[in-house]
Symmetry: C2
Subunit: 141 residues, 2 copies
């Protein structure tokens, strides 16, 4: 009889990572919240579930996972870095400027304007967007 693996345990296998409590809870939280989470948010979630996860351990865990590419850092709200699964297809985000709602946006449409239209058809109101390019400047190549 096969044992049912949680999503988190699958990811650990896939990346040959030790199956630890911190990892299991971290992945669990990401799956359930269905949006990028910041470290303070992870900690709040764990606390509300009465799960004792050390702050330092979590910072180190997230760092490891980002370096491996399992997680991806998402910088949207000023002074707040969130993390999402790196396996998600390359996508962008919609963030509510009033509450902390953030959701993935698939840029299937060919233009920013059309993507905004598609978003508005889903019920949100888009006021502005930000587009940043990253890479190496001429000096640093």
């Amino acid at each position: 009889m096969k044992t049912q693996l949680t999503e988190g345990e699958k990811i650990c296998k896939e990346w040959s990572l030790r199956n630890t409590k911190t990892r299991r809870l971290l992945f669990q939280a990401l799956f359930e919240s269905r949006r990028p989470l910041s470290i303070p948010e992870f900690l709040d979630i764990f606390a509300s579930e009465d799960e004792r996860i050390n702050k330092t351990t979590l910072y180190r865990e997230v760092e490891t996972l980002v370096n491996l590419g399992v997680l991806r850092a998402v910088q949207i709200t000023p002074r707040k870095v969130s993390y999402e699964l790196g396996s998600h297809e390359h996508h962008h985000h919609f963030a509510c400027t009033k509450c902390d709602f953030i959701t993935g946006v698939t840029f299937s449409e060919k233009s920013i304007e059309r993507t905004e239209k598609a978003l508005e058809e889903q019920g949100v109101q888009v006021t502005h967007h930000a587009l940043e390019f990253f890479g190496l400047c001429s000096r640093c190549q």
Copy 2:
């Protein structure tokens, strides 16, 4: 004989803001650096010019100016908020992932791909980009 106003003094007039040392130096620094600056960067610049500007005062000043729309917050590098003049035409940025080089990008081309090409022709190497939409979610409207 007309008195020559600095850019900063012009902005103060335009927004009916008191002409203070903090404001003058802040605008001056922005004009000279030609790129978004973070508060620690402003402070370093002032210190290197032997200008004593209090940290608290600067934080409050920047907050005021952002609320008025004179400045705009720019969130590019994780954990680093920079500020640029809000009067700049709506544009995006290129950030070097190795040094702290940031420059404005005019999205004159119609697509992200073509904007990237145009950037590369200017000598930088684009590895990836981020696109975020902001507004109000259905609950918050």
